[in-house]
């Protein structure tokens, strides 16, 4: 995506004042500010207080570990990265200031062996318990293994722990639930996602961008286009490549088709979780028709292989799009209208799994989950880049934060995606890719997946090989809001409904 111009104003200027620095690096899709370790806490305090959204936190290894915090300055339409070299094995406990950082603090400890100061217990997030010294890691092994999430709980009164998973029904992904309950109400909930860990970021090291994209689009198969786009954009930003405008239009069409089929799939999952089999069948007919539209337009039901670094490998078959899309979306709309008129379905959605606006902001949630809680965050608008400059989407927002709000946001977004696809198709999409210049570099890329903002940060050496790739699909962000939603006065049978309405993947978060 297009490199941003340096804007030493607003949050950036005030951050520089707060940390007493004038050092700013522009380019690579973001403004980067080196922050000394001694000033990191001040910087995080300042940015969190200024309303910046902590979008990601990750580490890179070299002579020393470097922490990078990616901040969305959404009202200022740019990303800001703070870069801090860690001299010893500890850094300030950032999640005490920005709670959204906790999951990443745990992950960084597992992968690099550095931890927040203060000795707070860290959870196991990606590596399995049997991961020994030879288990592939991005950096050093921690001196002590991370404290187990399932370390003995203090469960008071009549509460007990109900284990569920990791093997679940039919084709649902591996996920272990620890449900703490007093019989029916959910008192607490924790998740193990490491069963699905594939070490993708580790596997991406040493790969060329074309090879990396093949793996990246499989990090979260249901967001193949979005994750691949974010990685491709990061590579393009790092190397200064400008994809052809027609190729960006093609990416936009693929991304909106991805959103459409995902929202149809979420609707089917909602019906299944509420026991409405006929509604599920109706939603799955819509889903199947939309997947066939994908296959007809791009040659793949799940839109794999469309995006490549510098552009796209395939252009859309616009005739197939024109023929297939109205029928597929019409099917979705008819099923949705019938569901909205079914009281027994709507009753299960209303006031279930509430995520408050404050929780959504505090945890840095993204996508339909955040937008249903009144947080209008959407990287297509907040961080606009082609093709959305000229074709901005209307953001769907609701305020109640319950399952019904998330369902309504998805329906509104599906309608908006159809409109956008029409606009983008009329603007002349095509195929082709810009050549990737050599020289190496580092860059940030993003795309608004059906689950929300997908981020990627990639550094390449002079030979064009990846030295570090950070993948941050939206699932990584939003699972951290799931337990809050599950605890908000819900009962056992609400959990599958809440999970369906979040419509996240375990693969995306476990990577």
């Amino acid at each position: 995506m297009t490199a941003l111009q340096p804007v030493p104003a607003g949050t950036l200027a005030s951050l520089l004042t707060a940390i007493g620095s004038a050092s700013v690096r522009d380019g690579g899709g973001a403004v980067t500010v080196p922050v000394p370790a001694a000033r990191l806490e001040t910087a995080v305090h300042h940015l969190a207080g200024a309303g910046a959204r902590l979008a990601d936190l990750f580490a890179t290894d070299g002579d020393q570990v470097t922490l990078r915090l990616v901040w969305g300055l959404d009202t200022e339409r740019q990303y800001l990265i703070t870069e801090t070299a860690i001299d010893d094995l500890e850094y300030p406990p950032l999640s005490d200031i920005a709670p959204a950082a906790f999951a990443e603090e745990c992950e960084i400890y597992e992968q690099f062996g550095v931890r927040p100061a203060g000795g707070k217990p860290l959870n196991r997030v990606a590596l399995p318990p049997h991961a020994g010294p030879d288990f592939p890691r991005l950096g050093h092994q921690p001196a002590q293994p991370p404290a187990e999430v399932h370390a003995p709980h203090t469960v008071g009164g009549q509460a007990f722990e109900f284990p569920f998973g990791p093997v679940r029904q039919v084709g649902v992904e591996s996920l272990y639930y620890g449900l703490v309950t007093s019989g029916e109400e959910i008192v607490d909930l924790y998740l193990f996602t490491w069963h699905k860990h594939r070490g993708l970021e580790w596997r991406l090291r040493g790969r060329r961008p074309a090879e990396a994209l093949f793996l990246a689009e499989r990090a979260e198969g249901l967001s193949a286009t979005a994750v691949a786009w974010s990685v491709a954009a990061a590579v393009e930003s790092a190397l200064g490549a400008e994809p052809p405008p027609a190729a960006l239009l093609t990416r936009g069409i693929a991304l909106e088709l991805e959103r459409l089929y995902n929202h149809a799939a979420a609707m089917a999952a909602l019906c299944q979780s509420t026991g409405l089999s006929v509604g599920q069948a109706a939603a799955e007919i819509a889903l199947e028709r939309l997947l066939r539209v994908n296959a007809a337009v791009f040659g793949h039901r799940y839109l794999f292989g469309v995006v490549e670094a510098g552009g796209v490998r395939r252009g859309p078959d616009l005739a197939a799009l024109q023929v297939g899309l109205p029928g597929g979306y019409g099917e979705l709309r008819r099923a949705a209208d019938a569901l909205l008129a079914t009281n027994s379905f709507m009753d299960r959605l209303e006031a279930t799994g509430i995520v408050t606006t404050e929780q959504a902001r505090r945890l840095g949630l993204v996508g339909p989950v955040a937008r249903a809680s009144g947080v209008a965050v959407d990287s297509r608008v907040d961080q606009p880049a082609a093709p959305y400059f000229g074709h901005p989407p209307a953001i769907a927002v609701r305020g109640t934060g319950d399952v019904l709000a998330r369902f309504q946001v998805m329906l509104d977004e599906a309608a908006e995606s159809v409109r956008l696809i029409g606009d983008l198709a009329a603007a002349g999409p095509g195929t082709g890719a810009a050549p990737l210049p050599g020289g190496g570099g580092a860059g940030l890329g993003w795309a608004e997946s059906p689950r929300g903002e997908a981020l990627a940060w990639v550094s390449l050496d002079a030979d064009g090989r990846i030295t570090r790739a950070r993948l941050r699909p939206a699932s990584v962000r939003n699972w951290r809001g799931f337990d809050d939603a599950a605890r908000s006065q819900n009962v056992f049978t609400d959990i599958p409904i809440i999970e369906a309405s979040f419509w996240l993947t375990v693969a995306g978060t476990a990577r």
Partner: protein
């Protein structure tokens, strides 16, 4: 519920006769490649091996070895050499051992590209 009952009556049965008959949508699915014998030499084989991201191809002397079980039908080999590689049209794979998915394509001596 009457709504759904009436809707079901109006829509009728929406399903497929697959596998008794081929499903029409299968025609649009990506399928693993078929390699034309007699047109692939060692140099072309090495190019095909290089573009395969899932490592379904490797060359063993004068033979191109194709593991269909590893193929994701991404189409990169077909794009690289459309005169030598075409879609097989076979999307149904079944076997009792992984070895049954491995095909061997004999290579020819150097030919003009």
């Amino acid at each position: 519920m009457p709504l759904w009952f009436a809707r079901g009556l109006r829509r009728g049965i929406v399903t497929t006769r697959y596998p008794a008959r081929p499903d029409r949508s299968a025609a649009g699915l990506p399928t693993p490649p078929a390699f034309r014998a007699g047109v692939i030499d060692r140099r072309l084989a090495d190019r095909l091996v290089a573009v395969c991201p899932s490592r379904a191809l490797h060359r063993d002397g004068g033979v191109l070895v194709f593991d269909v079980g590893r193929c994701t039908a991404c189409g990169r080999c077909q794009e690289a050499a459309p005169w030598a590689v075409t879609p097989s049209g076979e999307f149904e794979l079944a076997g009792t051992s992984p070895a049954q998915f491995v095909k061997q394509i004999g290579l020819v001596q150097e030919v003009g590209q």
